[in-house]
């Protein structure tokens, strides 16, 4: 059979790797990107938890020792909370912290006020941050390494996907150079 002898079709393999690796990385990229934006602005907000602080007046509880189980129960009952009281801590002779699931009640026995701090995990963000900041450790560490290597492969293969004017020899080289220059400029300014 007559025909041109085919060598190793590197561009075909390059594009195939780029395409399939791209599909595989969609989920991971979404996780890292969402968390990346959330954590990037953590000076302005808490990316993991929604913390609400309120102050409620309390009726005086005089017949029991502050911090005792009877005292803690009386405070929780007054505030209409239900659930297990984990424990308490006396910050000072006039301050008692009472701990419940995701709720801390700071009782001021001088002014008879309760500062209530309730913490709620932000849905989706808490989970994506958990993965992005490698809280699970163990096997997730290696999975994140695999993802990082995949990103390197995606970047490398992207440069050789097209031939001609739109490829790396054409406008591709200028866009690549701009991409390389961006972090360098910021390093020159801030480093």
């Amino acid at each position: 059979m007559a025909g041109r002898k085919k060598g190793f079709q590197w561009r075909r393999w390059n594009n195939l790797i780029h395409r399939d690796l791209g599909y595989l990385c969609v989920g991971l990229t979404v996780v890292f990107a969402i968390s990346g934006i959330a954590v990037n602005h953590r000076a302005d907000w808490n990316p993991n938890y929604d913390i609400q602080n309120t102050i409620e007046p309390l009726e005086q509880i005089l017949d029991v020792e502050p911090g005792s189980s009877d005292f803690n129960k009386a405070v929780v009952d007054q505030l209409d909370f239900s659930g297990e009281i984990r424990g308490s801590f006396r910050q000072s002779p006039t301050e008692v912290d009472i701990f419940m699931e995701d709720i801390t009640i700071k009782v001021d026995t001088e002014n008879w006020e309760a500062a209530i701090e309730s913490i709620k995990a932000r849905p989706i963000l808490r989970e994506t941050n958990f993965l992005h900041l490698n809280e699970p450790k163990k096997w997730w560490t290696y999975m994140a390494d695999v993802y990082a290597v995949s990103l390197l492969l995606l970047a490398t293969t992207s440069m050789f996907m097209l031939k001609g004017r739109k490829g790396i020899k054409g406008r591709g080289k200028w866009l690549t150079l701009i991409g390389v220059a961006i972090p360098l400029v910021f390093l020159l300014i801030y480093f």
Binding site: N48, R86, F89, R90, F99, E101, T104, E117, I119, N134
Partner: protein, 157 residues
Amino acid sequence: MKNVALALLVFVLAACSSEPAVFEGTTYGQPVSLTERTDISAIAHNPTEYLGKDVLVEGTIVEICTSMGCWMDIASDREFEKIQIKVEDGVIVFPVSAKGRQALVEGKVEELDQTVDQAKAHAKEMAEEKGVAFDSTAVFESTKIYRIRGVGAVIAE
């Protein structure tokens, strides 16, 4: 056979002599290896004696960094007293939901020698992490803070 018996004897002796402190819960960071607990009140009473030493302390978690879970305060065995456990950012992340639970922590006692500006910056950072307002008009003094640089912890379920 003789070798197996000898190995077993060595294993049993080693297990008896350095059995880690028993505490059920989730481990964060390195597993706890010290066997003897130190009272937090003893460290607070005479911090220079413990400076640079590895200690194992136990107490109720009374505060946790809500921003990154990179520190927590645990209550002392003495009233109105607590100690801060600081861990490397991202290496150990204490869950905010653990507030009020019992913790066993291993680490090294360290000293923070703060200037007035550093004390003010530290107070501001703590206020931000606790989600409370920072009083910029408060007067700060240069101070020494003693805390534990935690390497491992077990938090009860």
